[in-house]
Amino acid sequence: MFGWFGKISFVPFSKVQDFAVHLKDGRLMGSVCKGCGYATFPPRADCPQCLAGEFDFREIGGRGKLYTWTRISAAPTGFEDVVPYTLGVVDLEEGGRLVAWIGDTIPEGEIRIGMGVQVVPRMMEEREEIKVYYTIEKPGTTWGKAPPSG
């Protein structure tokens, strides 16, 4: 299922592969170690601190600050059709960092390092296979969530 994550997937399998299912449902998940409580994003199955191998997913709000960014003009294989695109690195309020595309709600001229941002789960439309990702948007941007399962 992890193959759902990203425009191109290089990693079809992972111990945290349900991340992609949650993302499809509109939820951004970090991990919390069952052994020592170490919480991080992106999620990881194995604790770098206490070495435990059991974890829970924990939903994060996705608010953060833009740490740095770049506008890519020379694209690698698989991204030729979306070039140019803008990448940002976000320091998440709840800890951890992510890299993602800066979305339509933030025009390039308005990008500022340190600005507040909202990370938003996304699904690629008009494609036969499921492709999920997330983008960096203005604070207050909303999106749909599937009802909690189980």
Binding site: K7, T68, I72, P76, Y85, R97, V99, I113
Partner: protein, 384 residues
Amino acid sequence: MSRVGVIGIGHGKFGRRSDATVQELAFEAFRLAVKDAGIAREEIDASVVAAVPEYHKQRSVAGVVQEYLNLNPAPTWLTEVACASGSAAIRTAWMAIQSGLHKVVAVIGCQKMTELSTGEILALMGRVGEVQWESVFGTTFPGYYAMFATRHMHEFGTTREQLLQVAVKNHFYGAKNKNAMFQKEISLPTALASEAVASPFCVYDCCANADGAACLILADEGRARASGKKVVWLDGVGCASASMSVLRRPNLVGLPSAVEAARQAYKAAGVTARDIKVAEVHDCFTIAEIMAYEDLGFCKKGEGGRFIEEKRSYVGGSVAVNADGGLKAKGHPIGATGVSMAHEIVSQLRGDAGERQVPGADVGLTHNVGGIGQYTFVHVFKRD
């Protein structure tokens, strides 16, 4: 501790070498190094080959290189840590000699990058970063360093002009290096007007893929002294790693692996940053050289832009940096680069660098970075 000396060096022409295979490139550098060392080939009791495998159709390159150099049955092995593979080979040769296992070791850095099609290059380019969480968004090698540059400019006021002055300097020296891929000077306006790659970078902020090889012959202290040559000693080896994912770094304005590798190398060699007269640093992108000035202690963090603007890294400045043209003008055959850096420092410390000679060069270093600082090797060299 006894010392490890460099007794022979060789360097081939870097560039688009459509005339040669990877082992033929290796031979060019090896031939020169063996002649320079003045030794019988039979004395070489091991070789370490540095090459990044995914660029070659030939798998297990060390095997074909060892055969072509007629070094069988001496042992050989490959080192790979991306763009720092060459320095990893030097480090393992140093370890092999210090352990007493080997006495004379050939280090061969070689790479043929231009055999791949543009499509294959672009596909590789899409997997330079951490592939699970980062490459899925189309991150690229210039894109990563560009994000360092954006942040460095934000925190310290580093300018586009200062970044490109690194390229202007390195082309200035590359024009005087017969082994360089680009032997021509460039002007700042030309550099500023080049095509966008990943903001703030344009073409002249980036080094180029290339083919090429370089070779060192290292020997234990006794054999090195017996050579009767001007021996250059590898007295400080430093090496450190940092997270593959840039998301796990403390900041994106420097390379923590470079700071740590430099600390180790300075300590081992009993020197400080102020003692370094000549340095080869890993200028894969312009910001990388500016961060290297800071990480190596040539100036304070944040002052790297001013350091190049004031020409303090030119020959005649406080430390001559990349007086052979650097990756920017020489080209960057990734397996060969670390060995090429060592070649230049040995040449400078011997006083053999011709019109690029740094006056009074007695202590020099190489700073060779793999990937986006996942691996850094700093090596301090001294002359007698």
